[in-house]
């Protein structure tokens, strides 16, 4: 299962989605303002959209997750049994 999370890290939406994803062992991909969360996390399993990091001035080496492009995101979405989008 893959969770797409887009809300900023301090929001309730982010926390609810993130905790639920962790609870059920789903993969997580961060997009939009959620990518900020990858700066303060040691979680190397997070996927993070690279273009969204760049847009926000965040360097790849500032984060611990896996930077990916949209093509790779499509692969993840089609390989998994279910996509849950917390847009």
């Amino acid at each position: 299962m893959l969770f797409l999370i887009s809300s900023a890290p301090e929001t309730k939406e982010f926390k609810t989605a993130f905790n639920l994803a962790k609870d059920i062992n789903a993969d997580i991909c961060l997009l939009q303002n959620a990518v900020y969360a990858s700066r303060n996390s040691n979680d190397s399993s997070l996927y993070v959209l690279l273009d969204e990091l760049k847009l926000r001035g965040i360097n790849e080496n500032e984060i611990s997750g896996k930077p990916i492009d949209y093509g790779r995101l499509i692969d993840l979405m089609t390989e998994t049994d279910k996509v849950v989008g917390f847009f």
Partner: protein, 76 residues
């Protein structure tokens, strides 16, 4: 059977980043040969209004028009 992706867009074009996200995901999915659909609901339908003059952020109508030309199927 080719894989099918359906996106659901329910926000207006210039107050959120969802339009841009939907366009980028649709673009990548079409490039991979996926049958790609988008369903617009609520304020999402404003993404498809004619005569938009937005500047300074991704242009919703132009962006979706070019994706529709590449095979994106849109339902409002």
């Amino acid at each position: 059977m080719p894989k099918k992706l359906t996106l659901f867009l329910n926000t207006s074009p210039y107050s959120f980043e969802n339009t841009y996200t939907a366009m980028r995901i649709a673009e990548a999915a079409l490039a991979k040969g996926l049958e790609t659909h988008l369903v617009a609901s609520a304020d999402g339908v404003y993404n498809f209004l004619k005569g938009q003059k937005g500047r300074g952020l991704p242009h919703a109508a132009d962006g979706f028009k070019s994706l529709i030309d590449k095979g994106l199927k849109v339902d409002l």
